[in-house]
Amino acid sequence: MNSMEKSRGNLLLEFFSEEIPAMMQLNSEIQLQNLFVKSLTKRNIAFESFKTFSGPRHLSIIIKSIELEQKDQEIEKRGPRFDANQKAIDGFLKSNQLKIGETIIKETNNGKFYFHSQIIKGQKTYEILPEIISEIINGFVWPKSQRWANTDLKWARPLRNIVLLLNDDVVRGKVEIGKNVFLNFTNFTFPHRYSDKKIVINKIENYEQLLEENFVILDRNKRLDKIINDTSSLLDKGKLKLVNDKSLLEEVVGLVEYPNILIGSISNEFMKLPREVLSTAMRVHQKYFSITDKENNLNSKFLFVANSIKEKNRDFRVIEGNERVLKARLSDASYFFENDIANTFENWNEKLKHVLFYESLGSLHDKIIRMANISKIFAKEFGVKSELAKQAAILSKADLVSEIVMEFPELQGIMGGHYAKIKNEHKEVTKAIFEHYKPKGVSDDLPETKLGSLLSMVDKIDTLVGFFSIDKKPTGSKDPFALRRNSFSIVQILINFKINLSLNELFEPSLNEYGCSSQSIKRNLIDFMIDKLKYVFSYKKNRMDVVNSVLNTKFINDIPIKIISSRIHSMSKFTENNDFKIFLANYKRINNILKSEKFSNDAVLQVNTKVFDTIEEQNIYNLSKSFSKEIFKKGICEKSQDILINYLIKMNEPISLFFDNVIVNHIDHKVRINRLNLLKNLHNSISKFSIFEFIED
């Protein structure tokens, strides 16, 4: 036990810098841990555990029970063969400065060889640490970083101090951060900005507490907990609740070292503004949280997190200051809002003629016209009135040139909806404009209304087709026009509203609008969408193999999405069914036979019924014909997918009988070929439903 204590100790590393952007902090913590662990592992230095911290200025790691000395390393070098000529042996000895007696001869798979093994004595950990720290610093990758003064090193913001303690002692050393610019390792750090005094860290185990006493909570989870707990105790008394805003909360945790929850009031005159304007103005510019009552009405109070120690006079001053700022922000917003209300949709749409959608894709006005034309075509599928669909499209982009959306781009759609309502547009149109930017990702809510979904889909189809038509499709990780997200949204709407449109039908009207007749562009679009369908279906917890087997069906672009969806659903249900498993086994057997015969996938082969000499052959022949008929009849009926699978299951017995009683590999070449063709035709027929090869056992 005692010797263990002597050979191990704790380590503290802290990078103290000027304020690191909030959203980079968590990742930097993870990076620090990964880089450090990698450096230690590489050098055979063991440790027990670690804990990391990150905040605006302090980024640190404590490594518990790290070895104080590197393990000795044995390096074995292979020399020439035992029977090599003397010249080679002498060369080996000379280059390694060895005498013949210092080598050993070992047997390997390739014969006997000279070997020399060398023990490299492990270094003291503190001797290696400067090199490790330099490796970590230079290995760090920030999303954005900078130089400062005369440094060459890039850090998110200037790195000012490095604490490096081993066993509570400062490690002597420094790192070079520029030509002849160094940072020495220290044993002190800095407290909250309320004090300018350095604080000396005497014991690593007290590090976290020492800083907390100096009003820096190092652990971001502790800061988060403090914010949540203090908030709920403040609000519970007033029966109010915070509007849930996880990403704002995470950001705020990165903006403060010592969170102090304060509550201010919104001036009454602004409470008439749309709620979204209020909460956006508060959130985006000021990072304030909105508060609602139990009925979810916006309250005239707002909550914010100051970076300070509670102190009555100061808190009062800080609240007053923040209220004044908010008042200025909101008076700006209400100025814009009043101007917008005095404006008209006609006027805005006229302005859209001068706003480019994208080079060679026309103006935003061109876009709404295209959208209106497509909307009319799809209206029936969505069960909405064609006139309303057109009107919604025509009004959908006007708010992009309204003053308030120019100021708060994230209010696009929402303000359009408000203004349409104020201008007495049809209720459904109003709602559709309001929600047509939804869903904003695979996990976002869909529009609630059918008209809203149609508008959302049409908007995205127009964007997708437009950019594909000018060859701006996403490549690799680059997707500057968010086409992937757009297509996910289209897919979600199609699936959710069970839209009876095939991929072909989906793109045809939009391609026409762009006057694009290129088959390869259409093919690219469809392939792109199939890929997204795969993703969304598997995101919805379907088995990937089932999804693949259905989506690889031939002519998939002619099958309505709702059928694809229900087929995947049905298949998923049956995957655990025993009869279905037997069908799959049979299918696999047929497939293997055909594969070994190297039939091309598309081959359609003549079967000569006159060559049949068993009833089983005739049965198979009938099966394949009738299934083809059946799938033609019922294939595009949403509710018939189960029936079709049952139909497949019913093939089990005839197929088994066929394999039991019929020899495919008949000596008569003509009979053999006819039987293979028979199986191929059955295979073709089944493949109209799904490519079962993809299903895994």
């Binding site: 000027e18 304020e19 952007p21 909030a22 959203m23 605006p56 954005k144 970083s145 900078q146 130089r147 400062w148 003064a149 005369n150 440094t151 998110a156 913001r157 200037p158 000012r160 900005r193 309320y194 300018d196 903006l255 403060v256 102090n260 000021q286 914010f304 100051a306 970076n307 300070s308 100061r314 001053r317 800080v318 007053e320 200051g321 923040n322 004044r324 700022v325 908010l326 008042k327 200025a328 008076s331 700006d332 100025y335 001068h354 706003v355 480019l356 080079e359």
Partner: protein
């Protein structure tokens, strides 16, 4: 209102503070600019010749699109910045800044001061840097930037730029909600004391009207082209490069572009090309200043 926190007192306090920090005190550049950064004392000086450069100055700024006909209590098309540029960026620059606030009656310890990420970029100057907005009780009172590039050229050593928004700062200190109510001189109104509105309200009204409605756009287009041509001519003779006058033309062009923008006569697609043209002027002037044009 006490004379201690008047608008002009804030300016003189900042001036004497930064003089004490070793800055040369300069006067505004005598052209319309969009920000204090445009002053040659910032743009050109951070590129050399001396690697040590410390300057402070007030710069009136014009942002034609921000005009509100004097009707908005917070937005102006003409306002003042106090600019500090120090190269190389000192190690304690954040503290130097916080210390400066005490001299204008704002003790950081009595407030909630925050350094909030704000990456700065000036497309027309081809300049960029990382830094923060500095918040005091939720109000952005300054901007802080570590210059990484100017005119598309790496700034070495890195300079730190501090920009105080004087109106905002004064409004905060005087606890005023309308910029036009700011106390300018600290003198009693009855004895002829002036507010910000007394001095600038009429200017805001007239210039808003000029910027948005009355400026002669065909003349402006011509002026833009003329400035561009002159800039090129001044950098034509390799033996006789006139970097400062060339940059002067670049500043002119930049403001003319802003005026045209306010009139809404530059379409989205043209916009980019105008910005590029100004940037090219800035870049050439910067290179000429460094003696590296045509290298």
């Amino acid at each position: 209102m006490s004379a201690n926190n008047s608008f002009q007192k804030i300016i003189t306090s900042l001036q004497s503070y930064w003089i004490d920090q070793g800055c040369v005190l300069l006067q505004p550049y005598d052209l319309e600019v969009g920000a204090g950064t445009f002053h040659p004392a910032t743009v050109l000086r951070v590129l050399g010749p001396d690697p040590i450069w410390k300057a402070a100055y007030v710069q009136p700024c014009r942002r034609p699109t921000d005009g509100r006909y004097g009707e908005n209590p917070n937005r102006l098309q003409h306002y003042y910045q106090f600019q500090v540029i120090i190269q190389p960026s000192p190690e304690d620059i954040q503290n130097l800044y916080l210390e400066s606030l005490k001299f204008i009656g704002l003790n950081p310890k009595d407030h909630d001061i925050r350094f909030v990420e704000d990456d700065w970029e000036s497309p027309t100057l081809g300049a960029s840097g990382l830094g923060w907005e500095i918040w005091c009780d939720g109000m952005e009172i300054s901007q802080f930037t570590y210059f990484q590039q100017v005119g598309g050229i790496e700034v070495k050593p890195v300079a730190s730029e501090i920009t105080y928004g004087l109106e905002r700062l004064a409004m905060f200190i005087q606890k005023i909600e309308n910029v036009y109510d700011l106390d300018w001189d600290g003198n009693d109104k009855k004895k002829g004391g002036k507010t910000y509105g007394d001095i600038f309200l009429q200017q805001e009204k007239e210039f808003s009207k000029y910027n948005f409605e009355k400026s002669e756009t065909s003349a402006l287009f011509k002026q833009f082209n003329d400035a561009e041509t002159e800039c090129k001519n001044l950098l034509d003779d390799n033996k006789n490069l006139l970097a400062l006058p060339a940059y002067h033309q670049c500043i002119k062009a930049s403001h003319i572009f802003n005026l045209l923008d306010a009139r809404g006569v530059i379409s989205v697609s043209e916009r980019q090309s105008y910005i590029l043209r100004v940037r090219n002027m800035a870049r050439s002037s910067c290179l000429a200043w460094m003696g590296k044009l045509n290298e």
